[in-house]
Symmetry: C2
Subunit: 173 residues, 2 copies
């Protein structure tokens, strides 16, 4: 019953858009992001590091993934699927050539994190987000839900990672 | 007296090598790294993230800098110099093209952290390490002091960052 109350899934056949109406997540403060209704998890910036990457795509970013305690524990134990309550944060900054570092190194080799781009979250709740592999997705910019985010495109892209519970990032020791 | 006992500085004029003999740092367990006698700080992998970077130099690495509570506090307050007891950890992994991610993105854009390369530390102790800007330097590989590390070259390279207390990495919010 709770599941039905919280999760109303409407498949709009013509557009192929999956619309969810979910009760606002009790995680976090502030405005909730659309579709999955996730608020920014408090204290995410303090979480432990999972890994880092350079995504040379449209944004060309340097990124760090951080995880709450449940996320880190699951990664280190190598246990899938991630348990309910797992939250993974992906922080991204612009990929910037560092003139001051290059001056010291004597060559152009140093690329550092510039201005923040946005922060994305994956929140595991296997009942609430049953139609998207148990994960809710959110994106924030400057502390607010990012209205440019196309959150209905998150899960289709993550689907190929189904063998790893839809999570791309590996843990770096 | 304590300073003299702990810190014996011998400048070898012909070679230009500065040799320090310091009491083994009471941080950490295991073998101490040479010159600055720093043991691996326990629990460094749990520390909070300072920033990330891609250093396309000899190692071609992706790196994350983590800081203990004193480091993070100083960064966030914008207060220099860093206080004694500050420790900054630089974790580096090889910069690797991710085939599995590229397959999803449909193009070669994803570079992730591969095998660990080494971990470096800067430890602030303005009395013990007075001749190197107050910082001791250490490098570990697979949990042991890295015998390939040329720790006497660390400070000369960091000297240009004197206006920022010899630390290159900026904090990424």
């Amino acid at each position: 019953m709770k599941g039905i109350v919280y999760l109303l899934c409407t498949v709009v056949a013509l557009t192929g858009v999956i619309v969810y109406v979910a009760r606002a997540s009790d995680h976090g403060d502030g405005e909730a992001s659309p579709i999955f209704a996730i608020k920014m998890p408090p204290g995410y910036r303090e979480w432990k590091l999972i890994s880092v990457a350079h995504e040379a795509g449209n944004n060309n970013d340097l990124r760090a993934t951080l995880g709450n305690d449940l996320a880190i524990k699951a990664y280190r134990e190598g246990k899938l699927p991630f348990p309910d309550g797992t939250i993974i944060a992906r922080l991204a900054w612009s990929y910037v050539s560092s003139e001051e570092n290059n001056a010291v190194f004597g060559r152009d080799q140093s690329f550092v994190a510039g201005a923040p781009i946005n922060v994305q979250f994956m929140v595991k709740d296997s009942k609430r987000y049953v139609a998207t592999g148990g994960w809710g997705f959110a994106q924030f910019k400057d502390g607010k839900p990012d209205d440019k985010a196309q959150l209905n495109t998150c899960f289709p892209c993550h689907k190929p990672a189904s063998a790893r519970d839809f999570v791309f990032t590996h843990y770096s020791p």
